[in-house]
Symmetry: C2
Subunit: 190 residues, 2 copies
């Protein structure tokens, strides 16, 4: 089984080392990890006029060629997960294949959003949190926007939320390993 | 043709009015707009134990029943678009149907991310922007993470970026209308 390794890990200074470590853990569980920056012959990507579009096409081809997706959903430069990762999560869910994810931040999405919106957020007449522009906050006790938690649940996946030391925010892979174990069990039952 | 109206518009204080206005514009172009909060009989959603999960399942069912998606990609509480909207964009792209989007913020994603990361971001030895934790920024001159711009391009869609007065950030629908026109043309050529 090929597992697409979605996440902002591609932006890490040691992205290649992270790719190697995730692939090693996949192999331990009898799976093959596919990192977004892995080379992949793809006629459309090879012919793309722009580097960024070649990257897009190659990532899409990687996802289509994988059997499942495990996403690093640790909040990235805001209350939510990395946008590219979220796009890929929705993409794989629509293909009907298993999606799982982990976040190295256990905080509630509402609490995290309130930290981002700052003191101008307030409760409206109905008692709901709204930001300075009047837009409502989600208050469901979830890890992120309900489409993320919901997509993983609909796929019978696992969404791990755990606290890690701040310095291990981008390196701790216990949640990732828990996803691999859950994926193994899911496939065994499937 | 049914068009799914993705966006953080659902969080607006006047979300119902926005839904009505977007549907009116769709009708002008011979299309039927479907807003995420529209009622929809769905056995799984009706049986869901949690409100948030019922919402998820209903949104997914709406998307599957639509022929195209137009997303409000205006940056939402951070450098990127709303996470739920991005998930839905990837979902619809994977279904192989047209996706288009508009942003009422013309700024480059890199510039916007630099505003979010603050003065701790710096150029590394290779000349690339990295944040305080050493994670790289995308520098492609795009509207958002390359998966968003790329998905729309791969679908032959349109991504409108335009400046609007700050007070019209969540109400200006010129970009939305441009998407509807582009979608009409796309279908005419299809």
């Amino acid at each position: 089984m090929k597992v697409y390794l979605a996440g902002p890990d591609v932006f890490l200074p040691d992205a290649d080392a992270m790719a190697a470590e995730k692939k090693r853990l996949c192999a331990l569980h009898g799976m093959e990890g596919v990192f977004p920056t892995d080379p992949r012959p793809d006629p459309a990507a090879d012919a793309a006029p722009d580097l960024w579009y070649a990257i897009y096409l190659r990532n899409e081809a990687h996802i289509r060629a994988c059997d499942a997706l495990v996403a690093n959903l640790t909040p990235f430069r805001g209350p939510s997960a990395d946008a590219g990762t979220v796009y890929e999560l929705g993409f794989m869910r629509a293909l009907g294949r298993p999606v799982l994810g982990y976040s190295n931040d256990p905080a509630d999405f509402t609490a995290r959003t309130l930290r981002a919106t700052g003191p101008e957020a307030q409760r409206n007449a109905a008692g709901r949190w709204v930001d300075a522009e009047g837009l409502a906050l989600e208050e469901f006790g979830l890890a992120d926007n309900l489409m993320i938690d919901g997509g993983i649940r609909a796929a019978s996946g696992l969404l791990v939320r755990q606290a890690v030391p701040e310095t291990a925010r981008w390196s701790d892979l216990r949640g990732f390993e828990a996803c691999l174990k859950a994926l193994s069990a899911l496939q065994g039952n499937g």
